[in-house]
Symmetry: C2
Subunit: 429 residues, 2 copies
């Protein structure tokens, strides 16, 4: 099956720029575009790159088939000559960038796209859509995982965001260390473990709570998770153990002061001999609520709304800027939004202990001399429009993030507002 074309996930102006540039010949100038962000969301100490795999897929599926060309002609977006050029469009350039799971900071050169102006300018919108969304969710997810301190995390935010954002969010939540997702499509598309048992509706459907629990245990076995807060929680917990026995897998509490309720439930479970029955809490949890529950007997968290909305930062503010034309650095220079022209490459420097020190951004694309504890942050992603071999997998990148977070100075992991965990330094030519 041919994947759907991504070519109309594009802003109108990319095509009008193309039309003008084809007409005057500048369309064929060799260019470099760079994706980066000028700042992290308010008070955040690091960002986590998400979506790179999806970006590469979108670039490969960026083509103008009959249907796309027909619409552009009908709507009069561009003329005959441009349509003809678009019919043969395929991206043949090179892409380098930060892999998923890598940390980023203000000015980090996250993605560098090189090719003719024509082929690279068209990718702006779809590249940014994916990076801005997926990195926002990955960044929030990493803070939550870090707050959970090793406890099980289940992503269950699908219902709070667009049905396709939901799938992408589940993917990067897993990247960031979530254990499972409720989203079945993410399970199918990306092989992520999915989880789920029952909602309040299931209890309400039945004549009694006991009938609901009996039915669930008969169907899913005693290792299931019973939702105990439809009516009275104490009675719910009692009933859960009565029905499933002390080998019950877990109970879930979805409302109220979950810290207090978890403590009471733990005592009650223990008194009933259900020492191994776990307690999962859900309901409006964000990284701060998760951290606040650290001292409570909570074994797992279900997180929804705050995850899929980036916990206050639903987008990442990344831009895709033309930085080089035929080898000449270019940059906008009016008012406050000044940019640095020219292709860049970054080195993350570390102490011998492994602690990150600086993000050093170098002009040019030749790798500078690296110290023994330094490393380049970009890797090659595409050459001549094709993905390079042996790109890291989702599992590789999950591990990458885990390691990268350990490398941050300890203040960098604090949830409170602060400065970026390491400074970005711009090296001179």
């Amino acid at each position: 099956m041919t994947a759907a074309s991504t070519a109309l996930r594009t802003d109108h102006y990319e095509l009008t720029m193309l039309a003008s540039a084809l007409r005057d010949g500048t369309a064929h100038r060799h260019c470099a575009f760079e994706a980066f962000t000028r700042r992290l969301p308010d008070g955040r100490r690091y960002g986590v790159v998400g979506g790179v795999e999806r970006v590469l897929e979108a670039i490969e599926n960026f083509r103008f088939d009959e249907a796309e060309l027909h619409h552009l002609a009908e709507a009069g977006v561009v003329g005959e000559d441009t349509l003809e050029w678009l019919a043969g469009y395929r991206f043949h350039g090179d892409v380098d960038g930060y892999p998923e799971g890598e940390l980023y900071f203000p000015g980090s050169p996250l993605l560098t796209v090189r090719g003719t102006f024509a082929e690279a300018v068209l990718l702006e919108t779809v590249v940014l859509s994916i990076l801005n969304h997926d990195s926002a969710i990955a960044s929030a997810a990493a803070r939550m995982v870090s707050a959970a301190n090793g406890r099980r995390m289940i992503e269950m935010g699908s219902r709070r965001t667009h049905e396709e954002s939901a799938v992408a969010s589940a993917r990067v939540a897993y990247l960031a260390g979530f254990t499972a997702t409720s989203n079945l499509e993410a399970g199918r598309r990306y092989g992520i473990p999915t989880a789920g048992t029952a909602a309040h509706a299931f209890t309400l459907l039945h004549d009694t709570e006991r009938a609901a629990f009996e039915s669930q245990v008969a169907s899913l076995g005693p290792n299931t998770t019973l939702l105990v807060d439809t009516y009275d929680i104490t009675r719910g917990v009692e009933l859960a153990i009565e029905v499933a026995g002390p080998q019950l897998g877990a109970i879930r509490i979805d409302s109220g002061d979950v810290g207090v309720l978890a403590r009471r439930a733990r005592e009650q479970l223990d008194s009933l001999g259900a020492f191994g029955t776990k307690i999962v809490v859900s309901g409006d949890l964000d990284e701060h609520a998760i951290a606040a529950l650290r001292a409570e007997p909570v074994d797992g968290y279900g997180v929804g709304t705050s995850l899929v909305t980036g916990s206050g930062a639903p987008t990442s503010g990344m831009v895709y800027k033309l930085v080089e034309v035929d080898g000449r650095p270019v940059a906008k220079r009016s008012t406050h939004k000044t940019s640095r022209g020219g292709r860049k490459i970054a080195v993350r420097t570390h102490k011998p202990t492994g602690t990150a020190v600086e993000e050093v951004v170098h002009p040019g694309d030749a790798a500078p001399e690296l110290g023994p504890d330094d490393r380049l942050t970009q890797i090659p992603l595409m050459r001549g429009g094709k993905r390079v071999d042996d790109l890291p997998t989702l599992e590789d990148n999950r591990l990458r993030l885990k390691k990268a977070l350990v490398s941050l100075p300890w203040e960098g992991l604090k949830l409170s507002h602060g400065e970026p965990a390491i400074p970005t330094v711009f090296a001179e030519q």
Copy 2:
């Protein structure tokens, strides 16, 4: 072409509930589920319903084909019997709800889905994903349009959100009164006008700003919009008129203190005889920034980030609750999240002048007696799993919202934080 199945845009637990309920026979009980929100986002005075058309489409395309069944079997989500039942799944129930463009308030019964438990429970996630996302964007868009007070609004936020949320956002921005979108896919899929001319990259690509302007005018004609803030704005405006003549369509300013810059640009344009050249501003505008520019000579706004992120409220907090089982009202009743059981219907009451007074929520589904200035807010959407005839179009709903906003008490249109514009009143049985 068969539309893609939406059946895995579903949380795992909907299928495990189904499996248990099929096993114990409760799956076939006749149920009503209701989508509503307990509160509006912090300080908002009204919500705007968005996404209903997409919800109906998703319900129609909710089916388990080979690919979906294969995944569910492979992943062991449910067993053989349930898979067999799913293979024949089609929604055959009834849906009533608020049409798009209708205003809503806390407790408004936005969507009522009636059918067997089995057929209705499976729709929870996809229905909520769409309503929560699209209504959040529609609600933010309506505030912006109202702040712009009749000036032209262009939606250009695609790059700041997931590539599919972008298309849905463009659609509801248009619903809310935006003039056009930059998103080409929204143009193709929904027939929404698209717009765009050039970015800073186009100027930087050329050897001089003059060469860029000349190229654009040669390609798009003098009625185009020239982006004048790549280098020096005053020089940019001068050059724009030199190149295009005083019949230039518009200039765009994308950075800096756009109010001050617009005033200066207007004077400069007038002094150059370009009295008809319009001024479009863009760059981090939200409803407050738009309102603050009311006194400035701005003819149009380009809005991106704040629109697609719901201007601080990226989701709507809607839930999908089981409210009735075989004619018996049901409701969760532990802790603070108490819900009202039973199917509901709402009447918007008005003064004879047309000003809305209350949202009166009645139990049951028989229409109460209506006063001459009252109206029911729900309309029939689906009967027996098929869309009813003559559903309102996007254009109809655009007009509906325009009229609904006029009906609000004047405080209801204030951008500042406050109470819902009209109170929700729950009538007794």
